[in-house]
Amino acid sequence: MYAFDFVKPATLADAVTALGQDGAMPLSGGQTLLPTMKQRLNSPETLVSLTGITDLKGVRREGDALVIGAATTHAEVARDAAGDYPGLAALAGQIGDPAVRSRGTLGGSIANNDPSACYPAAVLGSGATIITNMREISAGDFFQGMFATALEEGEIITAIRFPIPERSAYAKFHQPASRFALTGAFVAQYAGGVHVAITGASESGVFRWSEAEAALSGNFSPDALNGLSVPAKGMIGDLHGTPEYRAHLAGVMTRRAVAAAS
């Protein structure tokens, strides 16, 4: 790693100040950022740890929504969201492995927007709202393609508000080496309709599969998806799977998520 200064502010205000300096970067759980820095692919002058800010942690119910602090770890979400939003908790419990889950955070994952990460599927599939120190951003506006988000310089995710669906589930097909999603489907049924978000598959990152949503909104069962398929064009092709395979998996995983949620 390149040398850097490390600061660990206790308040959001101090973090914002620290991140206002040139070359400053936020550090949350570090499960992706630190391995990247070991490869010297990142060279922040200052790393600002967000894990000391208690305001950024925790899972709380607000009416029909679950609000989760950005620095809440995957393990905490898996445990503390299980009662209110079991589909989300189950997704969090499938990220990485136990040691990764005890450090990795919701905010860190969303801000990175790895096209194979699990959380973006839940955030987009829940129609969640990303709350930052500056504003609120809808999930649809937040994710802007592989590793790209609407976040601006110095903007910190503080929490994410997840509307709680009537039922939901996540089905993940592992990329076998990294244990990220080769393709994952998050399905959530709300009073206003069904959301289907696919991660891991597309070159544009997480996306909503609108055809499937329309079909499932009328009939929430795996059979409703018969005859539907995601086009292979624009899907990721790599040594773990062709675009055709990923497109196929999107259908299979969506069916499985629907079956699991039913």
Binding site: M1, Y2, A3, K38, Q39, R40, F173, P176, A177, S178, D238, L239, H240, G241, T242, E244, Y245, H248, L249, V252
Partner: protein, 790 residues
Amino acid sequence: MPKDGIGASTKRREDIRFLTGNGRYTDDINLRGQAYVHFLRSEVAHGRIRSIDTSAASAMPGVIRIFTAEDFGHAGGLPCGWLVTDRFGEPMQEPKHPILAEGKVRHVGDPICGIVAETLEQARDAAEAIELDIEELPAVVDMRKALEDNSVKVHDDLTSNLCYDWGFVEENKEAVNAAFAEAAHVVSVELTNNRLCANPMEARVAIGDYDPWNEQHTLYTTSQNPHVIRLLMGAFVLSLPEHKLRIVAPDVGGGFGSKIYHYAEEAFCTHVAKVLRQPVKWTSTRSEAFISDAHARDHVSKVELALDKDHNFLAIRSTTLANMGAYLSTFAPSVPTWLHGTLMAGPYKTPLVYVNVKAVFTNTVAVDAYRGAGRPEATFQLERIIDKAARELGVDGVELRRKNFIKPEQFPYQTPVAVEYDSGNFHATMDKMLELSNYANLDKRVEESRKKGKLRGFGISQYIEACGIAPSHLVGQLGARAGLYETATVRVNATGSISVLTGCHSHGQGHETSFPQIVADMIGIDASQIDIVHGDTATTPMGMGTYGSRSMAVGGSALVKATNKIIDKAKKIAAHLLEASEADIELKDGKFSVAGTDKSVDWAGVTLAAYVPHNYPLESLEPGLEETAFYDPNNFTFPSGCYGCEIEVDPDTGKVEIMAFTAADDFGVVINPMIVEGQVHGGLAQGIGQALTENCVYDENGQLLTGSFMDYTMPRADDLPVFKVDHSCFTPCTHNPLGAKGCGEAGAIGAPPAVVNAVIDALHRAGHTHVQHINMPVTPARVWAAMNSK
């Protein structure tokens, strides 16, 4: 027999330090005043070095010195330990393998500069400041393209990228062709044996140290064979005499072959410690290991089987391209030849075999032996082609194999590929596997799987391998530039405890526990009285190390030999003490007695007399009790066995799940069954890993796409089943004193075809009969693509 003798599942004594974090691995060693080494490695697969400017980098904070190839002008290249002679009687092409790149870089990861600094990060910072001007050249990665006339040459001074064109048995070639021409049935399959990375969990480390007052070099290194490193590096690379060069391989975190070889980093650290008068330490990262450790396998083969009308095997013809990578690693040329061609008869009575292997240079990391080495490639071809033959002929694969097995009464059996099998019982291991796997009820399980939407299949693999390497005179004839004996010194101390010094090296095999079991058994004392010393050339006799499943068969035999010398001498001492004839002395349970009397002296009484020779036959016997033996085997050993793999395919995703895996092995006599079972489990996991998940993939420019555990799929706990293993059907090795054959590589040799055969079986049972073969690794994507390829 003492409770910890031969055949006892004694707990491993080494576990205590490992379980409490007190192992001492090379990276745990830090020498006073040590500097750190970082290698600037090539980022391109092929290029000409125009210039290297280290001036700015050398001035960076903490930088002690930056070394380039010019600093190693006096040194030889890294030697290759095996000369293969081609089918025209000519020696293989053998390019120089410099310590640091000279003129050209030939693979991603080829070391160009070694930066020595006070801290590792300072060395890495300086590496980025080196101004390197490399003219990138087209890279050649594909072996077929490398052999085309107009191909780019990896080595400008060679005539082509062909290392050798080997034929075996060349004299049989025409007879084999004739057998094919007349055969009632001919079956063929083209397949690849995927390129692997051994990936022991401990990456390589080297620490060089130099004592100027005694002109003594010490290298601490993660090696399976410290004496081999001393010989190769001392004699061929740095011109250092053995008595001034000490190699220490302390606790080593797995090897699987990848830590046999003499690597550039070892020679670098040894030499630079002297130049700088300062210890220097290099620790590989995992990412660096992927581009600097020797890779493995990487064969592309076509195998054909000729059968008569009654389905007797008539002949095998096999043609292979074997990737050597950019340079010849220590044992690389022997793997696709003598470790592969000699096993192409397998456990079958096929009378005619012809194997052709073209070894090819490419712009990739060097390829060398890895658990099994050549034998997995042979077994994979045989067991896949037999599986395919059974399907094409519409006969049962079990019966087709049984019909062609060498029968138990036919041993010793001379194969048409030079080796003579001393013992085996293939029918017995097959019957045992079928029984343990409940093969008889397979159809019922297939039906149950079908009801839940899964495709179940069963794959069989019957293997035989050659290990316990090796008779030195024989391997010498075959091109080995080393002997392959093993040594043991049994040093009995005055009060009766024993230190065994061995040339073998334990890096997971449990020698510290199993070797004392032999001595305890032979003398009749408690195993706790015996310790093993290994891994340090300063304290152990020159032995060839641990690989090729040789430690027990060869090193254990040396230990038996040395212990017998001890017992012989101890009996003489006992005879003197008991005033009896030596011929009347019996040793039982650690006590020497005179036959037919109640006169006796215990072990410690004899050992004390040896070192305090007050009452001792000094006129005819030297005092002391220490013996060394060198054991050079008469033959290879031939473990064999039958594996059954039962899988389910998820037809929606193509994912293969292993439902059960059964192994019935014949390892001859087993010293510690618990350790042997563990060795089988580990070998099976690596074999299943090769079959289902592991793959080193280069793109056409020679960039490694699987350069970390993010893309190279190591088998995890939830990828593997409970294993059912058995070693009860044993036929002792007839030519070594233990009757032991070796067990370390069996799983990695036998498992891959069992897995692939199971997948093909599942697909065929489900009607996907168009799928004739799927190349390893049989990933979900490949299975799905094969199923949908109609």
